[in-house]
Amino acid sequence: MSADRAVRLTLRYLVLTLLALIVLFPIYVTVVNSLLPGADITARPPKLFPSNPQWHAYADAWSDGHLGTYLKNSVIVTAFIMAGQLLFSILAGYAFAFLEFPFKRTLFVVFLATLMVPLEVTFVANLTTVTDLGLYDTYAGLAIPFLATGFGAFLMRQAFLQVPRDLHDAARLDGYGHLRFLSRVAVPLARPAVGALAVFSFLSAWSQYLWPLVVTKDDRLRTVQIGLKQLRNTNIDHVNVTFAGVVIAALPLVVLLLIFQKQLVRGLSAGAVKG
């Protein structure tokens, strides 16, 4: 390779590496600071590498900081929401893709219209509704407004439309009713979309902030996102504990996304590339 080429190549890697470091920097600082003893955190110049890692910050965050409880709550609520979203979206997507009924078009528009109405607009009234139903400060209350999603129905409908018409006809001739066709043929064939929806659903449920903030008061029901706020506010003097909490809170998401990268990308591209 010529020298000119080599220089250009090195430059490219340099730029890429620089940008990567910038993007990672906040995360790096978080991890490092979670391991630094209290005094080192305010040291000037700042310590960029923990020479004497203090792991106790994590234990503190977990127990005193109740992060263990918060994580549990997030898991329960997220599971609830995911189950609802997957189930209702699959059912709705199936109806839109394979069944004929009056006002189908209009109803689909209605589903899509819900994407235009965010929680930030509806939470005012939703709070009253949920309280009246006696679901304030409950897991159900945390999950119930999100059990259905227009995006999920859109995604599943899209996926089901890809199932060849012939398959559906053949199944009907073979005596498959709708529900059996749905569970035995349609869903397995649409597995990538289901995967994408699951990832997307998990992501949005896990990251929720506003709703858990307003609909729970009891510390025992706090989800991990609000828990972080609590942790930070009670640990202003122990930044390392806060940072340890951040790492713990972020870890499940990191692990899951590493495993399910493909599904995530697919879910996102569904909207973007088709336009």
Binding site: M1, S2, D4, R5
Partner: protein, 380 residues
């Protein structure tokens, strides 16, 4: 214009060698066809000239310039892609104009050059349309117009006719040849279709698995294939191949084949004798050089040189399938050991019946002989 040369060019992708030590020169103003089955490395070779892939080893020249380290955009070649690669968001005019804009050619010059190219290819009326609104044939012309609009040193064409329907293909073939002559362009043309290769190229270079098999004028490749691969790849229907064993006895060199013996002409026989170790050979005869005769009872089916003459005894065979194409007929016969041999007859010759026992003969000068293991041609 200029020449293009590969000098010991090799391209490896990991463990796979796509192009193996290729040395080939495309002369100035020549249309050279790079022919071969899919996966033989021809497109890879083309892309290396374009600068879209880099050789692992070896040197590529355009004109006299070594271009290994030259970026694609500076190589002064034009490429017509198999799928045309037209910019879908630009009109035909903008598409054709693109290479000129890339070189900052001033507007007035651009306009006249675009018109000239458009007229050359008969697409003046399409200039304001977008590619999506064009037929396959029209898109292909646009791709060509874009290529010729500046006068590059060389044209690279990657199976440009493969996406056209049969009738259009025949017509466009002739137009391409005419275009090349008119522009006196140096063209490297890649295809897997041997009809295109034979009818269009000044010379044909045949590749198989990255290795150059033969490069010569089409007729030469047809009449004197350098090895079994070339012999069977070029020519429709393909050359018949019959496995045989050499026995030298007395003055003659004889090849034993299923059902009989073939005496080799002196010069060829001498060549075989020189290759002392050769025992297993493959005889090749083109279908049009075989003659069908009534079968002769018993006998060993050889008289004089060659496979016998038409009224001498030929190889015994049974007619299995007759394919009638109107102007000619392909008679598929089975030799004693099951080898299938195709005989080409003119339409007005007498038709044999299926299942009939016949004898197949040819003249000595139409015999091709190849070594069985290496496939290479044995020549006097």
């Amino acid at each position: 214009m200029g020449r293009v040369a590969f000098e010991s060019v090799t391209k490896r992708f990991g463990d796979v060698t796509a192009v193996d030590d290729l040395t080939l020169e495309i002369h100035d103003e020549e249309l050279l066809v790079l022919l071969g089955p899919s996966g033989c490395g021809k497109t890879t070779a083309l892309r290396m000239v374009a600068g879209l892939d880099d050789p692992t080893d070896g040197v590529i020249r355009i004109g006299d310039r070594v271009v290994n380290d030259v970026e694609a955009k500076d190589r002064d070649v034009a490429m017509v892609f198999q799928s045309y690669a037209l910019y879908p968001h630009m009109t035909v005019r903008r598409n054709v104009e693109f290479p000129l804009r890339a070189r900052d050619v001033p507007k007035e010059d651009r306009d006249s050059l675009v018109m000239e190219a458009a007229r050359s290819l008969g697409i003046e009326d399409l200039l304001d349309r977008k590619p999506a609104a064009l037929s396959g044939g029209q898109r292909q012309r646009v791709a060509l117009a874009r290529a010729i609009v500046r006068r590059p040193a060389a044209f690279l064409m990657d199976e440009p006719l493969s996406n056209l329907d049969a009738k259009l293909r025949v017509q466009t073939r002739a137009e391409l040849v005419e275009l090349q002559r008119r522009l006196a362009a140096t063209v490297l043309y890649v295809t897997h279709d041997q009809t295109e290769a034979m009818t269009m190229g000044h010379r044909v270079a045949i590749l198989n698995r990255g290795v150059l098999q033969q490069v010569d004028a089409p007729q030469a490749v047809y009449e004197r294939p350098a090895n079994l691969f070339v012999a069977q790849f070029v020519g429709t229907p393909p050359m018949n191949t019959i496995a045989g064993e050499v026995r030298t006895g007395g003055n003659d060199v004889v090849v034993h084949v299923p059902g009989g013996r073939v005496t080799l002409p002196a010069a060829l026989g001498a060549a075989v004798r020189r290759k002392a170790t050769t025992r297993d050979v493959v005889l090749g005869v083109r279908p049009e050089h075989l003659v069908l005769g009534a079968s002769r009872p018993a006998g060993n089916g050889s008289a004089g040189e060659g496979m016998g003459t038409a009224d001498g005894a030929g190889l015994p065979a049974t007619v299995t399938v007759i394919e009638s194409l109107g102007h000619e007929r392909h008679v598929v016969c089975r030799l004693e050991d099951g080898t299938l041999v195709i005989v080409r007859q003119a339409g007005d010759e007498p038709v044999p019946s299926v299942g009939a026992r016949v004898s197949i003969a040819t003249d000595a000068e139409h015999l091709h002989l190849f070594e069985a293991t290496s496939g290479s041609r044995i020549e006097p």
